[in-house]
């Protein structure tokens, strides 16, 4: 066996079904954990297929390979420096012509590669017939038709992949028009092999020609300053000959070649597309009707989660209080009881209070995402986003933030300007994520009524807008215009939704739940040695006099930094009552103050860490300061009003 499993990189244009394929592969037999876009820059998974291990890496969708773009650079190091053993180019067969442009660019790398021709069903519906063998012949590599959503063709793809890994599959870069080829080969001849930093020399030369002036030239000057003039000369030659910028000329070369290959290998039987999705889309994006639909979607979202979560919670909480009573009778009030009680609170709290709301929220979020609704919300909300100095492209990260702030902050990479990224990343921690939704639903909706919870969300969105307004005062430069791709509507596939939910649930069970349990046990032990009183007394100026809450809650607020649900689980434990008896020790307005404070107070540890990693230390601390200030102001306001 190899000491290191061969690495396989999945790459393709956005919305080509790459992640669906990745999940289908990882779901086969994922050997180790996988972190969908959270802890690493890309998802990767060790897959075991019939006794052979593969390291599968899912890169973010891209239209072209631009190593000069700082945002793309990180993801592309996998292609350039770490040289994967195999590239799997995922291609959406229903938009074959445009997808082939990236394929041609990948071929220029001359690394082992196969094509996963995805969405064959959609292509068929649109009347596109692809001559697979012809395509293989034209491109010189294997093409395997698949339907990742239904898991079809995955086996064949793996067979082809292993074939390529075992026996090798030579790839030859496509050739362009004679005049461009001539200039290119002249430049390649002048390159010293050490300067071919992006894969091979031909590819490097192309990238230098395509580069814009800003970033890549710096890299180039470091390597070889005299080379810069020769590249500029080659660029100028092309520009004079074709009367267009060099990057446009090269893009046009790929475009025409892709078009030619598409015409030679595909037949479109009937034009026009099936109309259900087109008509639905017209309704969803209607300039007027789109808005009530948007509102209805989010109201429905909220009520569905509450209506599923609340009865489930009641059902699961009943046995818990019984067990707790039995434990007390069995173990007395000693150390053993405290440890057992901490464990029970942590395990039970996670299961009975968090999961009933968390799980339906995950499922619904994944359905919305799979449907392609987020981009449509971006189109509709663009005008309003302009009011807070952003545009529609920030909508999708915001909506993702309702699930979890961490991937939402990672997804701000789609924004072109640093300014937009900073503002959006600073606003995302104000979006109530699933953890905070659990608190809002389990405390506010249950004890004050669903209308209060809805009001909470409304107020929360207003708060986001207000903070956004405030931030744009400090970041004055205008935001660049909106260019947002609207993917075609897809009926959500249960398979994809369940697979994604499973992955997210697994990461909750592995990371967050142990934290909840450990937190509860720590609090239990603190209570046993009576250290909790010391901490609570230290915090009481804020908790008791500032917020008007019971002194015992001080410590739970601090622990909320680790994980927001922890405050909720620990609250019951700190107050020493069951969930149903909560109102006997704390009043509804106090519940509201507590929820507001926990919800706004400091981004949780994972969010803070991802902010630091993605945006730098300054932004992370700025975000923490903003959150603390907002939590103080809003909870004091709530206390004064109610």
């Amino acid at each position: 066996m190899n000491p290191r499993p061969p690495s396989v990189v999945l790459i393709g244009q956005p919305n080509c079904g790459k992640s669906t394929l990745f999940n289908a592969l990882a779901g086969l037999k994922a050997e180790t954990s996988n972190f969908p876009g959270t802890t690493v820059k890309h998802a990767h998974s060790l897959v075991n297929v019939e006794g052979r291990l593969l390291q599968v890496i899912d890169l973010p969708g891209t239209y072209s390979l631009n190593p000069c773009d700082p945002a793309e650079k990180v993801a592309l190091t996998h292609l350039f420096s770490e040289k994967p053993d195999l590239i799997v180019n995922v291609v959406d067969a229903s938009v074959l012509s445009r997808s082939l442009e990236l394929t041609l660019e990948l071929l220029e790398l001359e690394q082992p590669m196969i094509i996963a021709l995805n969405m064959m069903d959609l292509a068929e519906k649109k009347g596109i017939e692809v001559d697979i063998e012809g395509l293989e012949k034209r491109l010189g590599i294997r093409v395997i038709p698949i339907i990742a959503r239904h898991g079809r063709g995955i086996k064949d793809l793996l067979v082809a992949a292993f074939n390529c890994l075992d026996t090798g599959c030579p790839v030859r870069a496509p050739r362009w028009s004679a005049d461009i080829e001539e200039r290119l080969s002249r430049l390649v001849a002048e390159l010293h092999p050490a300067t071919c930093v992006f894969g091979n020399c031909r590819f490097t030369a192309i990238k230098w020609l395509e580069a814009d002036r800003s970033f890549c030239t710096e890299v180039l000057t470091e390597i070889d300053a005299s080379l810069r003039d020769r590249i500029e000369a080659a660029k100028k030659g092309i520009e004079e000959q074709r009367q267009a910028p060099a990057y446009e000329v090269i893009s046009a070369e790929r475009h025409h070649l892709a078009l030619k290959i598409f015409e030679q290998t595909s037949r479109v039987r009937r034009a026009g597309r099936l109309s259900w999705d087109k008509r639905l889309d017209e309704l969803l994006m209607h300039p007027v009707l789109g808005y009530p639909i948007l509102a209805a979607v989010f109201l429905g979202f909220f009520f569905l989660i509450f209506k599923i979560g609340s009865p489930l919670e009641n059902l699961l909480l009943k046995p818990m209080s019984h067990i707790r009573g039995d434990l007390a009778a069995l173990l007395g009030q000693g150390l053993a009881f405290h440890i057992a009680d901490g464990l029970l609170q942590g395990i039970g709290g996670g299961m009975a209070i968090v999961l009933p709301y968390f799980l339906p929220l995950l499922v619904l979020m994944n359905i919305l995402q799979d449907l392609g609704y987020l981009a449509r919300a971006g189109f509709l909300l663009d005008t309003f986003m302009h009011r807070i100095g952003l545009h529609g492209k920030s909508v999708s990260p915001f909506i993702l933030g309702f699930g979890c702030n961490v991937p939402a902050i990672v997804s701000t990479r789609i924004l072109e300007s640093r300014r937009d990224r900073v503002i959006t990343s600073l606003l995302i921690p104000f979006i109530p994520c699933s953890a905070r939704s659990t608190i809002i639903l389990a405390l506010v909706a249950v004890f004050l009524g669903p209308a209060w919870a809805l009001g909470f969300y409304f107020f929360n969105i207003l708060a986001v807008a207000a903070v956004g307004r405030l931030l744009t005062l400090f970041y004055r430069e205008p935001s660049p215009g909106l260019i947002l791709e609207i993917p075609s509507l897809k009926s959500p596939s249960p398979r994809t939704v369940l697979q994604k939910t499973y992955m997210e649930l697994r990461s909750f069970l592995r990371f967050a739940w142990p934290l909840l349990i450990a937190g509860s046990v720590v609090l239990s032990l603190l209570q046993f040695v009576r250290l909790d009183r010391v901490l609570n007394s230290a915090l009481s100026p804020l908790v008791v006099y500032g917020l008007g809450l019971p002194k015992e809650l001080g410590i739970t607020l601090v622990f909320g930094f680790l994980r927001k649900e922890l405050s909720l689980v620990m609250m019951l434990q700190a107050l020493g009552v069951g969930y149903g008896d909560l109102l006997s020790v704390i009043s509804p307005p106090q519940i509201l103050v507590f929820s507001v404070f926990v919800s706004f107070f400091i981004p949780c540890l994972s969010t803070f860490a991802v902010l630091w990693r993605e945006m730098g230390r300054r932004v992370a601390f700025l975000s923490a300061a903003l959150s603390i200030a907002a939590a103080m102001i809003f909870s004091l306001l709530v206390r004064l009003i109610f």
Binding site: Y247, S251, D382, I483, E485
Partner: protein, 80 residues
């Protein structure tokens, strides 16, 4: 005429794309190149974005008015 003033639902051919290199590169990557045929499908209220479908590459984009103003089009006589 510029794209933001073009009639809705007609096939339009892109004549030129102006603006900064960054915007032009991004539009190019999305298939909005000279010669491509596009169609305006919807216009957002309150000077909101345009929903533009590229009939050549089958890509739909939401374009801000500012960006749309930089794309010059003419009515296309023959469908793609």
């Amino acid at each position: 005429m510029s794209l933001d003033q073009a009639p809705q639902g007609r096939a339009l051919r892109i004549v030129s794309v102006q603006g900064g290199e960054g915007v032009r590169r991004r539009l190019l990557a999305l298939g909005f190149r000279v010669g491509a045929v596009v169609e305006v499908n919807a216009r957002g209220i309150l000077r909101g974005p345009l929903l533009v479908k590229n009939l050549t590459s089958e890509t739909s984009l939401a374009l801000g008015r500012g960006v749309a103003r930089k794309i010059q089009v003419e009515i296309s006589t023959n469908e793609p």
